[in-house]
Symmetry: C2
Subunit: 98 residues, 2 copies
Amino acid sequence: MAEEKNTNKGEENMIFVGKKPSMAYVLACVTQFNNGNKEVHIKARGKSISRAVDVAEITRNKFVTDAKVKEITIGTDEIEGENGEKINVSTIDIVLAK
Amino acid sequence: MAEEKNTNKGEENMIFVGKKPSMAYVLACVTQFNNGNKEVHIKARGKSISRAVDVAEITRNKFVTDAKVKEITIGTDEIEGENGEKINVSTIDIVLAK
């Protein structure tokens, strides 16, 4: 409550990695750190998980060299397929922290 | 030295995930646990990283339900491309443990 900076309550330090080139998400991470965030969560599902790892590695090796991998969590989300069937999809959450 | 079970020194509890269907690697994991291993390392590079996460999730959710994710490590390997140029590729090591 004390320091609400924007309206994306609690999501300002999260990067959702999808199908764009990795560098788009790397730039988003670097921007979050430059805005003063001490932690950034890099999240992805399914085939984008590999790209999320690339984003974390490129960010900490090339751009924010004082950031470390603080925690990595994997999980499973159940989503609904085209015909209403349940599909399990893997998820990852990589926390980079200064 | 005391209990060397096979000749793959130190690699007997490692599963290298590549391009086969996930269930091939899940079966390998389950076999490792059934052979008495308390820990299995699931490793992958590049685009296979997503599949490694699938393998870990399917193994612990469906087959070895007393196994937990003990540790996840990400890194970068430098490999040589077709024309001798250096290419960075991301890596993952997921440790499942009973």
